[in-house]
């Protein structure tokens, strides 16, 4: 009996709206991701990358098809069970950061641990460690408004990894950042993948960013057009 892969999508479709406005954003996605992989999802705008990421991140549900996470069917779970999958296994990084406003970096990073019911002492230590890991030591008491875009994204990454998730999902994490900052963020993701064994799934439409990945999946028109190892990756 072979161990089930970390993630397996089979025949995933997503339909938005109904009647005249009906739109099929995903037309049967097949995707398997093994633990420890670093996958870049590329493709033109509107090809369904974000839609697929949201389904992978259990933030949205597919219209049809099956999503197996560590061999467990996610599509049959209820809201609370999906929330628990997010809580215990997933970390999500958004293009728009999505930090709580007027809340310090430390409190933002602590948040997932509060929902995990961790004790305050452990929580503070873990949050500080995560901030240090993303290079924000000394910025713990700053609110998002007092941080640059790159710093905010680092806080968001710290928040996503503070729980030591199995998978880090990032939807265009560098979309709002300049090139230099983007490269720093990509280095960070590589390090997390390499040193902590966190599986990374990342959407980007910039080839410069995709070259950090081990594997590139190309979406076109709601379908996987190509899926191959990254030539550069050693």
């Amino acid at each position: 009996m072979t161990a089930s892969p970390l993630i397996r999508l089979t025949g995933i479709t997503k339909i938005y709206g109904q009647g005249q406005a009906l739109f099929q954003a995903l037309k049967g996605i097949e995707l398997t991701v093994e633990a420890g992989d670093f996958v870049a999802i590329m493709g033109p705008s509107g090809s369904g990358k974000s839609t697929a990421m949201n389904i992978l991140g259990c933030l949205d549900t597919p219209s049809e098809g099956s999503y197996q996470f560590q061999g467990v069917a996610v599509e049959t779970m209820d809201r609370n069970q999906r929330a628990l999958v997010r809580r215990h296994f997933l970390g999500f990084v958004f293009q728009g950061f999505n930090l709580l406003a007027r809340t310090t970096a430390l409190e933002n990073v602590e948040l997932p641990l509060i929902y995990r019911g961790q004790k305050a002492v452990l929580r503070h230590a873990a949050a500080r460690a995560a901030l240090e890991q993303v290079g924000l030591k000394g910025w713990e008491q700053h609110t998002p408004a007092e941080l640059s875009g790159g710093q905010q994204q680092r806080v968001a990454i710290a928040r996503a990894i503070v729980t030591r998730p199995a998978v880090l999902l990032a939807d265009e994490p560098t979309g709002n950042l300049d090139t230099k900052t983007s490269e720093e963020i990509m280095e960070l993701l590589c390090t997390l993948n390499r040193e902590q064994g966190i599986t990374v799934l990342m959407v980007t439409h910039e080839p410069d960013m995709a070259r950090y990945a081990k594997r590139i999946v190309r979406f076109v028109d709601g379908q996987v057009e190509s899926d191959h190892a990254n030539g550069r990756a050693a």
């Binding site: 933030l59 949205d60 997010r86 930090l99 997932p112 019911g117």
Partner: protein, 400 residues
């Protein structure tokens, strides 16, 4: 879970200080206004009934016309002889005081004070529950000849004489001077701005001759020895007055006979309307406070929906988010409610003493106002959150 959620709620309150403050303010306004208004209304009502109680319970008033209050509506006034007839024909009537009143200014040296002059007889004092603090009441010959003597109330004494003993001094009223022969014991301030001690009493004839210029009597005050006899005496008074005023079989009375209870009803009905009005004003403040809270909550609904999206995305359960918002709303409403209760108590005590009415703590209205405002706070804090928490996390995050 509860402890952690409490922590989250407190953090949310802290980082939205303005919104939290405005919510609390809305609740404070609602609670304080309602409680203060109703408490003042209750105090005013109590004050009126106290005042009526001080009139004595065995009192009957006979007034010309069909309504209570100033003006007789064209009906003829009474005469001195009416009082004499009552005294001789109704033995249960203990005191019979015919009354004629006139407003006038009393002057003593450089001081003057505009007051009401009552003309009556010595029955006026026991019937009206008055006692003398100094001096004496009228002598027979003073009543008969209409001599210029008077008994004054505490307020008049204070305005004209200060702390001096007035007995034996002469005060001037209109064109005549009048000797003060007695000082009434203070009855104190009453509701509705009426100062019972602001009074000058003279023999009836004196007022009729020197102030009114007629033999009219505006009112007959009759007190009954035994309160069980009140209804019987009222009936006898009514029959006697009909006979004396020659009212035909089928004609209605052109006078009214009222006992203390009826006077009380007439007076308290006014304060009840006042209380009702105050209550209406208060209800409006409650509504304004509620709309304020609603407005704040709706303005922040986009930000809060996205916040809920973030919380759900990082693994919060729907019920954890809901509990957080519920705690937040309850904490804010409770702070507002308690502040409102305290503010209402301070304001009610201050205003009652300013208005000279008793302060009556009414637990019912305190509880009601608190619960109602708290309910508004919770309602508008909690229900928008409930809607957001039921969304797919991604839809909550995308909310615009």
């Amino acid at each position: 879970m509860l402890w952690n959620t409490l922590l989250l709620a407190v953090r949310a309150i802290r980082r939205n200080l303005m919104r939290s403050f405005l919510t609390i303010l809305g609740v404070v306004i609602g609670v304080a206004a309602v409680i203060t208004m109703v408490t003042l209304g209750n105090g005013a009502t109590r004050s009126v009934s106290d005042q009526i109680a001080s009139m004595g319970s065995n009192l009957i008033m006979v007034v010309p016309g069909q309504r209570f209050g100033p003006g007789s509506g064209g009906a003829a006034n009474f005469k001195n002889a009416d009082a004499q007839a009552i005294r001789s024909q109704i033995p249960s009537a203990e005191w019979v005081a015919p009354m004629s009143s006139k407003s006038a200014t009393a002057v003593y040296q450089a001081n003057n004070w505009s007051t009401v002059i009552y003309g009556s007889n010595n029955d006026y004092f026991p019937a009206g529950n008055w006692e003398l603090a100094a001096g004496r009441d009228f002598a027979d010959n003073e009543e008969r000849s209409g001599k210029a003597v008077c008994v004054i109330g505490e307020t008049v004494r204070e305005k004209l004489f200060g702390r001096q003993n007035p007995v034996g001094s002469q005060i001037r009223i209109k064109q005549f001077s009048c000797e003060v022969i007695g000082l009434l014991k203070s009855k104190g301030q009453s509701a509705m701005g009426h100062d019972q001690d602001d009074v000058v009493v003279m023999p009836l004839r004196t007022v009729q001759r020197r102030l009114a210029g007629s033999q009219d009597v505006n009112r007959l005050m009759v007190s009954v020895r035994d309160s069980a006899a009140i209804d019987a005496v009222k009936k006898q008074l009514s029959l006697l007055m009909r006979e004396r005023r020659a009212i035909g079989e089928n004609e209605d009375d052109d006078f009214r006979v009222m006992d203390t209870r009826q006077i009380a009803e007439a007076l308290t009905s006014t304060t009840k309307i006042l209380t009702l009005l105050l209550g209406a004003v208060a209800a409006v403040s409650l509504l304004v406070g509620g709309i304020g809270i609603m407005n704040i909550m709706l303005v922040s609904v986009t930000e809060r929906t996205r916040e809920i999206g973030i919380r759900l995305a990082i693994g919060a359960l729907e019920r954890e988010v809901l509990l957080q918002f519920l705690i937040e709303a309850v904490v804010l409403s409770s702070i507002g409610g308690v502040t409102g209760l305290v503010l209402a108590m301070v304001a009610s005590i201050a205003l009652s003493s300013l208005m000279g009415i008793p302060y009556l703590f009414d637990p019912g209205i305190n509880l009601l106002a608190f619960l109602f405002s708290a309910a508004i706070g919770v309602l508008f804090g909690f229900f928008p959150a409930r809607r957001a928490a039921r969304l797919n996390p991604i839809d909550a995050l995308r909310h615009e």
